[in-house]
Symmetry: C2
Subunit: 308 residues, 2 copies
C-alpha cells in the first residue's frame, strides 16, 4: 500500500461510513411525509427498506465522502450526496434481479426483493428509489450554492441514465445474446457504462462539491475510471476464482452464460496485470493531492483485491 | 366556457404545444452523446422514442406552458420543463403496462412497448426516461437562477416518487386486491397520488418558474388539484360510457376488475356533479389572475369533458 493507512484502519473507516450511510438511509426511508408529498404507502416503503438497509459495503457513498474529504468538504453534506448515489445503486440491483432481466434469486445472501414481495412491488420500489435519489441530491444541506447542487444533480442523472448505467445494462443484456446477434461485445464499454459510471460519479462528486479546479476534477475523473475498471476486473476474476459462500452469490455465472468478460479477453494473468496497471494509473492521477488522497488510494486497492 | 377563448382556439393552442413538445422530445432523445455520457445504445434509444414520440395530447407539458404563461415566463423554458414532465409520464405508462403490473397490450391504439420489444427493454427504457427527466429539468435554459431550477427539480421528484405517482400506483394495485385484502380503497387518495401529483406539478411549475408569490402559488396548487380530480373522474366516466375506438383502449376495464372508482362511489350523476363543482372550484382559484388564466380555465373544461 502506498498510503500511510493500514488495511485495518482503512476497513475501520469504510465501516464507519457504511454505518453513517445506513443511519441516514433509514431516516430518508422513514414513513414521514415530506412537503409536496401526499402519503408514503407502507408496502413500497417496506420494499425499499428491505433492499436498501442492512447490508453492503456502501462503497459508492464511501467514494463520495472520501473524494469530498480531499477538498475539505463537510462530511454530513457528502454523506447525503452518498445516500442519493446509494439509492440509485440499490434501485439498479432490484431491477437487474427481476425475472425479465437477470432473474436472480439471491442478493447479498438474502432472497431478492421480487422473491420476497412480487415483480410489481419490485419494479415500483426501484422506481421509488431512483426518484428519491433526485429529491435527496437537491437538498439544501448538500451545498450552500444551488449551482453546485444542480451540477451534482445533472452529473448523477447522466451517470445513472441512458448514457451511463441504464445504457450499460442494455449493452450487457445484448452481449448475452438476448436480442439476437448484435455483434462482438465491447467489454470495456459495457463496464464503463454499467458499473463504471456510478463509481466514477462517486469519485468526481468530491470535486463538484469542493468546487475543485478543472485539473483537480480531471484527476479524480481519471482515478474514478481506473477504479471502476479495476472493480469490474476484480468482479470477473471473483466469478472465476471466488468462493460462493464468501461472495453471497453463485460463481461461474459468466462462464455458464458464455459471457465475454475481462478474464475471457485477457486471461487470468492478463487481467491481474491490468489491475496492477490501473492501480498505478490511479495513484499517478492522485499524486497532486499528496497525503490528502491516501484513503482514495487505499480504496482503489481494496476494490481491486476484495474477496466479495 | 368562462374564458374568452373558443373551443377551436383552445384546441389550436393545445396542438401547437403538442407539436413543439414532439420536436423537443425528438431532439432530447437523439443519439447525440452529451458531456458526462459515454454512449447512447441504439436499442434503448429506439424503445424510448417508440413510447415518447408520435402521439398524445401532451396535456402535462401544456399545463406547464400555460401556467408559466400566467407569469410571463419564456415559452421555450416552459417547454423544456414540460418535456421533462412528459418523460416522467411516458416512463410511468411503460412500467404500468408491463405484464407484472397492468399487463396491457395496447396504448394509444398501438402495441405497448414490451409487446414490440420485450420486458427487459421496457423496464430499461422506463428507467432511462425517468432518469433523463432529471437531466432535462436541471438545464440552464430553464431558468437563469439555479435556485429556481432546484425547486422545480425537487418538486418534480416529489410528484413522481413514493409520496406521489409511484406510491399511487402501489395503492392502485393494492386496491385491485393484488396483495390480499388491504382494506377499503380510498379512491381520492389513489387519484391524488397516481394521476393527480403530475397534473398538479404541471400547474404549479408555472408558479415556480415565475417566482410567484405564496398566494399565487397556492391558487395554482388548488387549481391543479381540482383539475387532477376532474381528470380522473372523467377517466372513470369514460371507462363506463366511452367508446373504445375513440379511446384507443378497451372500456369496461374497471368493472371487469371490480375496481372502486369515483363512479362506483358517486354514481354517474354524482360523478358528473362532482366534476362541475371541481370546475367551479378551479375557476374561483384562478379569479386573481383575471384574463391571464383564460387558457388554464379552458384546459380544466377540456380535461373534464374530453372523449378520449
Amino acid at each position: 500500500m502506498t498510503a500511510g493507512l493500514s488495511p485495518a484502519d482503512f476497513v475501520k473507516r469504510l465501516d464507519a461510513t457504511a454505518d453513517d450511510t445506513e443511519t441516514l438511509l433509514a431516516a430518508l426511508l422513514s414513513d414521514e411525509v415530506l412537503p409536496d408529498e401526499i402519503a408514503r404507502p407502507k408496502r413500497v416503503m417496506e420494499a425499499m427498506r428491505y433492499s436498501s438497509l442492512g447490508g453492503g459495503k456502501r462503497l459508492r457513498p464511501f467514494l463520495v465522502v472520501e473524494s469530498a474529504a480531499v477538498f475539505g468538504v463537510d462530511r454530513k453534506a457528502a454523506l447525503l450526496a452518498g445516500a442519493a448515489l446509494e439509492c440509485i445503486h440499490c434501485y439498479s440491483l432490484i431491477h437487474d434481479d427481476l425475472p425479465a432481466m437477470d432473474d436472480s434469486d439471491l442478493r447479498r445472501g438474502r432472497p431478492t426483493l421480487h422473491k420476497v414481495y412480487d415483480d410489481a412491488t419490485a419494479i415500483l420500489a426501484g422506481d421509488g428509489l431512483l426518484t428519491l435519489a433526485f429529491d435527496i441530491v437537491t437538498r439544501d444541506e448538500i451545498h450552500r450554492d444551488p449551482a453546485v447542487r444542480l451540477n451534482l444533480t445533472r452529473a448523477l442523472a447522466r451517470a445513472a441514465g441512458i448514457g451511463g448505467m441504464v445504457g450499460g445494462q442494455m449493452l450487457d443484456l445484448a452481449g448475452e445474446g438476448r436480442f439476437g446477434d448484435t455483434g462482438p461485445v465491447d467489454v470495456a464499454r459495457v463496464q464503463q457504462m454499467k458499473t463504471g459510471a456510478l463509481l466514477r460519479f462517486g469519485c468526481i462528486s468530491g470535486a463538484i462539491l469542493g468546487e475543485a479546479s478543472a485539473d483537480d476534477h480531471r484527476a479524480l475523473d481519471i482515478f474514478g475510471r481506473a477504479l471502476g475498471e479495476a472493480f469490474q476486473i476484480a468482479d470477473d476474476l471473483l466469478d472465476v476464482e471466488g468462493d460462493a459462500a464468501t461472495l453471497g452469490k453463485e460463481t461461474g455465472q459468466d462462464a455458464a452464460l458464455g459471457k465475454t468478460t475481462f478474464v475471457t479477453q485477457l486471461g487470468v494473468e492478463g487481467a491481474r496485470q491490468r489491475v496492477r496497471d490501473l492501480l498505478a494509473q490511479g495513484d499517478k492521477a492522485l499524486d497532486r493531492f499528496g497525503g490528502r488522497a491516501d484513503v482514495l488510494r487505499a480504496a482503489a486497492r481494496f476494490v481491486a483485491e476484495r474477496k466479495n
